[in-house]
Symmetry: C2
Subunit: 387 residues, 2 copies
């Protein structure tokens, strides 16, 4: 990855650096941008004008400071024109959100998908939902900047092929190619479209749509039928060589532990995957939720046991990655304190045994929309990546 002297690349780097700076510090003036970047004031003025024309930035109302002379104009992200679309291809459902550049959710939709439906059928359903959003947004005068898709499985970067998705039962599905073709057919247009693992995009969502600075590395742990994670370090996703990094549901927590759907024994997912917990309680997932809400003692004990195993996983990931912030997301979070508190307690207990302090463990900012919002963040992230 040689960095070249090519002027267009340098311009793109500088443009995106300005957008990133204004995004992280809304209200910066052109003079402050010049000071922060080392770019001359005339270069900054030129680039800022382009970014305003293109819909990325807008001028805010001028602050009255009482000082003499021309007042600096504060700049902000422009949330009015450019839109990001984020989609989640989940286990049993699809979901689409439309978001403004500054992180406001404009529209959202979701629908169940039939168990065992063919990839083509599911992706057609998803493309239709996305096309509806696009048409509505374009009719309203908006411009689609890019589209992101988060899927429950390992994705090959670049090609957007879903290599394997155990909980969907899919293998080698060209998700990106199918969705692009399907969207072009429905909207007669082309859009930048990016596909990535659900845990990874959810981690990006926490970083890209954060209010201000966020811990680095950031570790997102997605808790559902499957258990997976995403790590953002130095502003980049940690994907691994095949896109399989973060498959932490298959970390072995105990030798000769319970059998996992993957074929191995004692995997984290076999202890506290959502289906595994329901199986331990001998009920369905929705019954598990009801029993947990009704504080059924046997269910609470199952959740506490499962939570303690989650605590061990969090400890092990912390030991490996030393994140500044851990974020928990995914449907299992709706089981609430009965599941999450024992996890925190176990994590803290293990750290205290070594006289160490654990990092903050937060719940996901966008709740059940984490993956869809994260997918929108993926599109933004890819578009802002200069090199």
């Amino acid at each position: 990855m040689a960095i070249t002297g090519d002027q267009r690349l340098l311009k793109r780097i500088n443009r995106m650096a300005l957008v990133r700076l204004v995004r992280s510090q809304p209200g910066l003036s052109r003079a402050e941008l010049s000071a922060s970047t080392g770019l001359t004031k005339s270069t900054v003025s030129l680039l800022v004008q382009e970014l305003i024309d293109d819909g990325w930035l807008r001028e805010d109302s001028v602050l009255v400071t009482g000082a003499i002379g021309r007042r600096p104009t504060p700049l902000r992200l422009d949330g009015r024109r450019l839109v990001l679309i984020g989609a989640e291809l989940g286990v049993g459902y699809v979901r689409v959100v439309s978001m403004s550049l500054d992180g406001e959710i404009l529209y959202r939709d979701d629908a169940d998908i039939l168990a065992g439906a063919a990839p083509e059928v599911v992706l057609k359903q998803l493309a239709e939902m996305m096309a509806e959003h696009i048409n509505k947004l374009v009719d309203g005068g908006r411009e689609i900047l890019g589209i992101g898709v988060g899927v429950s499985g390992a994705v090959q970067e670049g090609t957007g092929v879903l290599v394997v998705a155990p909980n969907l039962g899919w293998r080698n599905v060209p998700v990106k190619a199918i969705l692009e073709a399907s969207l072009q057919l429905r909207t007669k247009r082309e859009f930048p479209l990016f596909v990535q693992n659900d845990g990874d995009v959810a981690a990006l969502g926490e970083v890209e749509f954060a209010n201000g600075a966020v811990g680095d590395p950031l570790l997102f742990v997605g808790l559902g039928v499957g258990v997976g994670s995403g790590v953002v370090v130095g502003g980049r996703l940690l994907l691994g060589t095949r896109g399989f990094a973060g498959e932490v549901g298959h970390i072995q927590l105990q030798r000769n532990g319970p059998k996992c759907t993957c074929g191995r024994m004692g995997c984290a997912e076999a202890y506290f995957g959502l289906q595994a917990m329901a199986d331990i309680r001998r009920c369905s997932i929705s019954e598990l939720r009801q029993k947990a809400a009704a504080e059924d003692p046997q269910t609470l004990e199952v959740l506490a046991q499962a939570g303690r195993h989650l605590g061990v996983l969090l400890h092990n990931l912390w030991t490996t990655l030393d994140p500044a912030l851990i974020v928990l997301g995914g449907p299992s979070c709706r089981l609430g304190k009965a599941f999450l508190q024992p996890a925190r307690d176990m994590f803290e207990e293990l750290a205290q045994e070594a006289r160490l302090e654990i990092p903050p463990v937060n719940e996901a900012r966008f709740g059940e929309l984490s993956v869809a919002v994260g997918a929108a963040a993926l599109a933004l992230h890819e578009l802002l990546l200069p090199i």
Copy 2:
């Protein structure tokens, strides 16, 4: 981290990009460098001449191709002038190597340190050893490019403070500051000096002094009294927020497992740390080595058990990080197949249960010198990092 238009920075980026390119593809010509970087031929010529004058590059003898016209001059790293010094602050010993820019080991030294010696005493001993190397090299007309130090503990980036080193019993020792002062006193000169965790520098050594391209991410697992790891991804170290990433010896492998020196139970290190294995066999570390060499059945069984636990750790790290290559290093590797084969077998067995293929697992390229050579690589890495 805004990328600026500053011309000096851009020049440094381009200079280092050229060095990196020539290093990974020895024999490139100026024209090929121009094509690879997008820099004009005149800019490349100017920068290459500077790099030759500064001792980074040299012109190789011209290939006779039979073609008409001026033949392109192949460029290589210049191993003749610039030298890197790498030091290891180990558990019970210190070690120093001097290396040419192209990876040749010029001098090496090591010495035992007294158990429980104060940090100042040990660092003085290390500084003396380094100063001897420096004086010898400078007398021989060499120029010291930089110095790296690998230490068995967690290091705060930037300040070079060793925050905690359980196996040395040190806490908050300003290793970088002490060594800098001590070296200045002894050599009357200043050198760029970098300090980092031993597993981290060993990982860098595998990348920076590789013959050709190397797997990305690369995971190095250091096996000794302590067990730690280093990860290089996208050419950068994964350090974590406090420099504690890779403390994988304290991943819990089993609930209520054996007590670890850190205070926790069931840590990886309590199963296959070098001291732990000797304790299980009820002998000293050197006796363990002798018994293993003599193929004592009881010892072989201890090593096999320990190796299987190592296999589980490798599996768990693979699941988390998806490395393209795993490298095993550290003193326990000298226990050989009796320890390492059961680890490989267990790793492979777990992967096969999920019908997945494991990545290559190699032994460290520089054997027992991995950390010292890695420390030299750290200095090179930091000097080549453009931003």
